[in-house]
Symmetry: C2
């Protein structure tokens, strides 16, 4: 049964409604989103209270979301409030006003906020241990993920709205303003930074500020992939971007490509916090998480049993994507089986390990999803779909390789193209070899009927013989597979030789025009 819920993340800077369709534990899909720049925390730094104007903006947004929920028959609407609401002296007034609306309102403690963000990381990265940092409008959380579980975490009063109001007042930002801000941040974070340095682990960062900074760096670098989740932001790039921000008056900062207009005046504060953390812990880069508190809140609904974790992030990603573009499952499973057989049997030649096996299997799983677009060029459409979706658990390199494997599963000459710079030197050969396995499996299953039930591979001196196990001669499969001997030879250095029981004495070689009816040369 499919469910539909809405979650509002009422931050100190922006409020955002996200709507999910899902089947618990099976698949989910984001189906709508409304973002409002509410700035609930505006003025808080000076007074410790929610201002009248800010409260009204927040109430307007809530009314809007409640109205949306009603008009669209949303099953459930949960509003999650963080720093500003939990800290303001007068937040009870605000909460009282919310009672008119039929919604679940949850004010998260600092630790809970940290916990939700960490859950999002645990379910969207292939990591067991990490430091997780979430910098919002009101507060910043730093948490420790260990064995995929939240170990500890804490909220600090270091949100970008708050810090901007406290420290950065001028039309331009002066050196002394930066110094004062940094001094304050350092005082707050000192013990935590010491722990981070001692107990090193990848730093994963979330929230609109770091996403926006990363986007600006990607634009500058002309990054070949349109994806933030999993992007590695180098400290050096961040340092350079901050220099550029500092050179400009506040009002002109949005002229930097990628910086959102409604973030431009407050983005520097957050950037300075990140720079300080990276400098103090002597860390060269951080990884962007496109998921955060909202997704954490969602995962608690989607995987209702604590600790709310997917068994395996990458596998879930692949299955979830397949569920969006469902294809013939028998054919899909059979291509997975045959490609795995080939990969395993050819291990003595390629020597690849578990990570490559998984990549090939993911490609076999997803090779036909482009059929959801159209039959013509479905290999290209499939690659487009893989590239244009978040693939939690995969690095950008893996996502690109997966897309390329899908792209070359049936035709074309496998090439890295414009993605080369985010791939590794031996990935071209890897792509050719994995493509050869996948393509052979695909064409040995050309009629989509699993009639090539199984295969046995023999690596001989000059050729690789593949014996097909089938009840009848799989004519289409022999014919079509034999057309791709060139790719196979390029991949494994041997001629491809296909044979069936019926053709024991003969065989089909990798000649395009040779036909599969026994009229081939004798052994």
């Amino acid at each position: 049964m499919s469910h539909r819920i809405g979650i509002v993340d009422m931050g100190s800077g922006t409020a955002r409604l996200v709507v999910y369709d899902f089947e618990p534990g099976q698949w989910f899909r984001l189906t709508d989103e409304i973002r409002e720049s509410v700035r609930l925390g505006e003025g808080f730094a000076a007074t410790g209270e929610l201002s009248k104007a800010a409260t009204e903006r927040a109430l307007d947004a809530i009314k809007l979301y409640a109205d949306y929920a009603k008009a669209t028959d949303l099953g459930k609407l949960t509003v999650i409030a963080t720093s500003a609401v939990r800290e303001a002296a007068n937040s009870q007034d605000f909460l009282d006003k919310l009672e008119d609306f039929n919604l679940e309102f949850r004010v998260l403690s600092g630790e809970e906020e940290a916990q939700y963000g960490t859950l999002a990381v645990a379910n969207s990265f292939q990591v067991s241990n990490a430091w997780v940092m979430d910098l919002g409008g009101g507060s910043a959380q730093i948490s420790r993920l260990e064995n995929r579980l939240f170990l500890r975490g804490q909220a600090f009063p270091l949100g970008y709205v708050r810090l901007t109001e406290q420290f950065l007042h001028g039309h331009r930002t002066s050196e002394s303003e930066v110094k004062n801000l940094e001094k304050f941040v350092l005082r707050q974070l000192e013990p935590t930074l010491a722990r981070m340095k001692k107990d090193a682990a990848p730093l994963i960062a979330m929230g609109g500020t770091i996403r926006n900074l990363a986007r600006a760096v990607q634009k500058l670098e002309d990054y070949p992939l349109d994806a933030l989740h999993g992007y590695e932001l180098k400290r050096e790039a961040l340092e350079n971007l901050i220099e550029r921000l500092l050179e400009l008056p506040v009002a002109e900062r949005s002229s930097i490509s990628g910086i959102h207009t409604d973030r431009a005046d407050a983005i520097l504060a957050g950037a300075l916090v990140y720079r300080l953390v990276l400098r103090q812990t002597d860390t060269k880069s951080l990884i962007i998480s496109g998921q955060g508190v909202r997704e954490g809140a969602f995962y608690r609904e989607f995987m209702p049993r604590p600790p709310h974790l997917f068994p395996e992030v990458r596998i879930f990603s692949v299955q979830n994507l397949f569920a969006h573009y469902p294809q013939d499952i028998q054919h899909t499973q059979h291509v997975r089986k045959l490609s795995k057989k080939l990969f395993d049997a050819l291990e003595p030649i390629h020597g690849y390990g578990a990570a490559d096996a998984l990549l090939l299997d993911a490609a076999a799983y997803l090779h036909d999803i482009g059929m959801a677009v159209s039959y013509h060029d479905h290999h290209k459409h499939g690659a487009y779909l893989v590239l244009n979706t978040q693939m939690p658990g995969l690095t950008h390199r893996e996502q690109v390789l997966l897309a390329l494997l899908v792209q070359y599963h049936r035709k074309g000459d496998p090439k890295l193209g414009s993605y080369k710079r985010i791939l590794e030197p031996d990935d071209e050969l890897r792509l050719v070899r994995l493509s050869a396995c996948l393509r052979l499996a695909e064409f040995l299953e050309r009629s989509r009927s699993a009639r090539v039930q199984d295969l046995r591979v023999t690596i001989e001196k000059e050729r690789i013989s593949i014996h097909l196990i089938a009840d009848e001669t799989p004519r289409v499969e022999l014919w079509e597979a034999s057309k791709h001997g060139d790719l196979f030879k390029r991949a494994f250095g041997h001629d491809l030789y296909l044979e069936t029981d019926e053709l024991q004495r003969g065989g089909v070689q990798d000649k395009r025009r040779r036909t599969p009816d026994g009229k081939t040369k004798r052994k």
Copy 2:
């Protein structure tokens, strides 16, 4: 009920199986395709017979297709044979050998072949009258379409395999070879060419030769759209391409980007025929049809009642695409209704006619199809889907405008971008205006519940008031729609003013931060 059939087009050059899923008269989808370069007509020019080798290649391909049909449980497999089989003295031997296979074998007469191709044109172009030319391996058909019906048509022995064998023997092509070929073609076509010149109508050309020539010209021109159907191939471009082909030895012709390897040695013959037709009829260009005899054969099944015509080609295209990516139909219909209301009411300002109304309606119909890819960036995915599919009945300009309307239906600043060169000078303004109508309709239907039942537009001196008819205050709609006042103003030169019954005395203006709860200034 969904059907699944296969059609094999057994030409003199290539044999191709296409598989369609369809619901008669409702929707169809190409789901598989196997192409073999069989060259059944090879040697025919010299002997008037099917050669032994050619017959074997054709039989092998048929066996392959029959095997595919069996393995995939294809409901029906029809083989259509044309010129070579109908003319060869020994084709009965070939036909006898086919009796073992469970398939329908149809040898088309020259007129039938012409008729099938013409039907494909009538169902894939928005034209009533045209000359239709189909040049294959064995023969070339020229037909006259009148009032969307086949008036007359004839097959000529001018296929590219045949002409190449008859006239072009050298490693390089000499001037005298070209002259002799042209003389022969002219003798065959003279009366037809005279009729074409007298009774002028657009020339629509089909078949692999012209498609491949057009592809090469597109590559050369860096054409911004990856689509052949509907492409206008200029005579000048064809003349230049022929010059380049003539400069090269036959073996090197596939080095021209876009020319297929297995066509390179025979493509010149066809190109020369087209050049001659264009020259003799004094025609500046022809239009490529990506559809031909196969599609004609399919339409006879899909629309079983003669004359097998779709009532309206463009509308069928849009509906067929929607059927591939079905979205919430109530919401879709309501956006269509509201955008039409806006378009009609604003006619005094924009002055656009029926073609633009149809374009806007198509965009309203398809605006959400990108949701089939993902919610995030679904406007971009929708544009991708529109651009990457054949849209019969639309010109390339119309297809691009449709894609851009889908792309800008919810955000972004409407721009023509790289497509400018295939659009008209006033299309930028057209895009802005139609986008403004569509976007306003979309946001007045933001909660997808049709609660803004209707609207009344009043064009005032400085502003355009839109009165929304709704049972309750459509808060989300007012809020979200009012954010797009800038685009509206850019499109129509007036401020956008939204009002509801409840807000009779007030209104919502196009200020981002203004809230829709009556706190706006009085009239």
